[in-house]
């Protein structure tokens, strides 16, 4: 997996709140048995009309806005636990999603696919949307090592949280399963100790 340290990119703005995973990838596209190709159907029903023609007013069809950073309204990724949403966002080419608030399961799914969810304050988010109206070529810089995000139109910066374990995974390109597999002995010991008093529960 590609390692992540810093990224400076132009921005795709989506100033809608409560963007649910059914919008990110509608259920009828969940029938694949691999992780490939979901980017083509990212935001399918906002992006294409029923005759599969691009809807010009939707931001992904607007050539003014492009880049590897998606900036969205609060409570991004609510609803279904479908990891297909993270595969669609990664498949389309986004590496960072910025919002003031993410749904829990989506946040985990994104990180497990090396898409970095960056939580910013509501004013910082509002400023990004405002600055893009003035200059669509504005960029953001996300520095994972420093855990900062900078709006390059005004130089304002905020720090964001990521737990040190996950940060290390991003920097080294490692996933959780590698780590968990290294803990098998510990898991077996846990099971033995637990069975002593709750054998009937499992």
């Amino acid at each position: 997996m590609e390692k992540f340290i810093t990224l400076t990119s132009t921005i795709v703005p989506l100033p809608i709140e409560n963007v649910d995973t059914d919008q990110i990838i509608p259920a009828r596209f969940l029938k694949a048995t691999s992780k490939e190709g979901f980017g083509d159907n990212l935001f399918r029903d906002w992006r294409y009309d029923k005759n599969n023609n691009p809807i010009e007013s939707f931001v992904l069809n607007n050539p003014t806005y492009k880049g590897q950073i998606l900036v969205a309204g609060k409570n991004f990724g609510s609803g279904s636990s479908r990891e297909h949403a993270a595969w669609a966002i990664a498949g389309y080419g986004f590496r960072v999603v910025v919002s003031s608030f993410f749904a829990d399961i989506f946040k985990n799914n994104a990180m497990n696919n090396f898409v970095l969810p960056v939580v910013v304050s509501e004013p910082f988010l509002a400023e990004i949307f405002e600055s893009l109206k003035i200059n669509p070529d504005n960029t953001l810089t996300v520095n994972l090592a420093e855990q900062t995000i900078t709006n390059n139109v005004n130089g304002k910066s905020e720090s964001f949280f990521i737990n040190p374990y996950k940060k290390d995974c991003f920097v080294k390109g490692l996933d959780d399963i590698d780590y968990l597999l290294s803990k098998k002995d510990q898991i077996e010991q846990f099971e033995k100790a637990r069975k002593a008093f709750t054998g009937h529960l499992v």
């Binding site: 691999s34 479908r82 608030f101 737990n163 040190p164 959780d176 898991i187 009937h200």
Partner: protein, 463 residues
């Protein structure tokens, strides 16, 4: 240290905690359906791994399966591949699998409790956000992504950040004509669609204690719709009576031992929750949603909020949502024509839901101009419907029963609501396109659905 019920179950399952990182949580049981598992099994193959604890995993297809002609092969070739892939994966990895048509097949969140696989004190996961349902038994149950499904297949553990705790108290008694679905939609409207994000909820109070097990399953099912990681109810005599004699529940001496443990599963008196909210059951009336997330709900006699009552930052989303629904700010929904009614899903596809629906439509007739899909949550529910003669009441009133599955809740099979049409649905999500591209969903309980099914309009079932 006084602990909440959530704390007790969580802490009993911590294998390790990564320094400044997530918790490695042991999972007692995992359910797998066909949509969110194939890539996880592929990952296992790529890594050359066997399933670590196959006896703790149960598979069944539910999302794609048709609700007619299940005895024939699935017509949609892509759905068929996905369902067949689960069959192959379960076989290759040695997992229990209740395939389409099996008497134990149905919606995974209906079947798990029904056969006693979901038990108090457990940690329980599935690649499905409505896994929160099983919390009704007094379990820590939550939805996970496919990478996490793979973690459980490989190690019976997941990495999770520990959620904060929230207690939602519902005092007093529910009014006649108000179901547990209305209770849940009311709470979600108050807390908002993202208001419980980061929390694990315990439901408590007189109104919750009075709910049957199936009604509690409905409430816990909807926890995710306010963003909660999960929701649970402390097990009590209602829980124990429900579980006793279930196929996979403990038996004999094991039952006695389990019962003694389960009786300890409650929040300590004086335990502190990170957040606590209280509502009065008497304030709740039958609910409907008017927008495109489950938090956009109101009493059936109420009016949609006006634009100026909405926070400025949220106005774009509010207008977009009402445009999609074809409704105007400030208007009432009572009396509005609808086109479809759906009774079913992991939220409201159980026998009590069918009893409520049948009681209301008994001696009445289905409205001519609408389509009604009645989809039992499992074959066991279907069997019970027939045992009680509910099917005859439904047929007499002009309805037909379909075969079990997730069906029109997310329209992965052929049960799709056409673009622009209105559906009163007992399911869990009114997101844009959820029931088919362009479909407009009004979430409601089984009683409001029954009233809509006989009038063809949004109708107060109490009058």
């Amino acid at each position: 240290m006084k602990r909440t019920l959530f704390d007790k179950i969580w802490e009993a399952h911590v294998v390790s905690t990564v320094v400044e990182g997530p918790t490695q949580l042991y999972i007692d049981r995992m359910y797998c359906h066909e949509v969110t598992s194939p890539q996880a099994f592929d990952g296992m193959r790529t890594r050359g791994l066997k399933v670590f604890r196959p006896e703790q995993i149960t598979c069944m297809p539910d999302h794609n399966i048709p609700t007619i002609n299940q005895e024939k092969p699935i017509e949609d070739p892509i759905s068929k591949i996905q369902v067949d892939t689960l069959t192959k994966n379960a076989l290759d990895f040695g997992l229990t699998h209740y395939q389409m048509g099996n008497e134990k097949n149905g919606i995974i969140h209906v079947v798990g409790p029904e056969i006693g696989l979901s038990l108090p004190g457990m940690t329980l996961v599935c690649g499905d956000s409505h896994t929160s349902t099983h919390g009704a038994l007094g379990a820590v149950a939550f939805g996970i992504g496919t990478s996490e499904v793979e973690m459980v297949l490989a190690t019976q553990c997941v990495f999770q950040s520990r959620p904060k705790t929230m207690r939602i108290n519902i005092n007093g008694k529910l009014n006649p004509g108000v179901t547990s679905k209305d209770l849940a939609l009311y709470v979600i409207a108050k807390v908002t669609t993202g208001g419980a994000t980061g929390y694990f909820v315990e439901y408590a109070g007189e109104a919750i204690a009075a709910l049957s097990m199936e009604q509690r399953l409905t409430v816990c099912n909807l926890s995710i719709e306010m963003g909660a990681r999960g929701g649970l109810v402390a097990p009590d005599e209602i829980t124990f009576a429900y579980l006793k004699g279930k196929e996979f529940a403990p038996k004999g001496e094991e039952w006695d031992k389990a019962l003694a443990k389960w009786k300890e599963l409650k929040s300590d008196e004086g335990a502190v929750f990170d957040k606590e909210v209280t509502f009065d059951a008497a304030d709740i009336q039958p609910m409907v949603t008017y927008g495109t997330n489950p938090g956009m709900g109101m009493g059936i006699t109420d009016s949609i909020p006006t634009l100026d009552s909405i926070d400025k930052a949220s106005q774009i989303s509010f207008v977009k949502s009402l445009d999609y629904m074809g409704y105007k700010p400030g208007e009432k929904l009572m009396g509005k024509a609808i086109d479809y009614v759906f009774l079913g899903s992991c939220t409201n596809g159980r026998i009590e839901d069918f009893r409520i629906f049948a009681d209301y439509v008994k001696g009445k007739k289905k409205a001519d101009n609408i389509v009604v899909w009645l989809v039992p949550g499992s074959w066991a529910v279907d069997k019970q419907i027939k045992a009680e003669g509910i099917d005859k009441i439904l047929i007499e009133a002009g309805f037909q029963l379909r075969q079990p599955g997730c069906s029109a809740c997310l329209a992965m099979n052929d049960d799709k609501v056409p673009a622009g049409k209105y559906a009163v649905s007992t399911s869990n999500r009114n997101f844009e396109g959820r029931q088919g591209p362009g479909a407009r969903t009004i979430l409601a309980g089984p009683l409001v659905a029954a009233a809509a099914a006989v009038t063809g309009r949004i109708t107060d079932p109490r009058v």
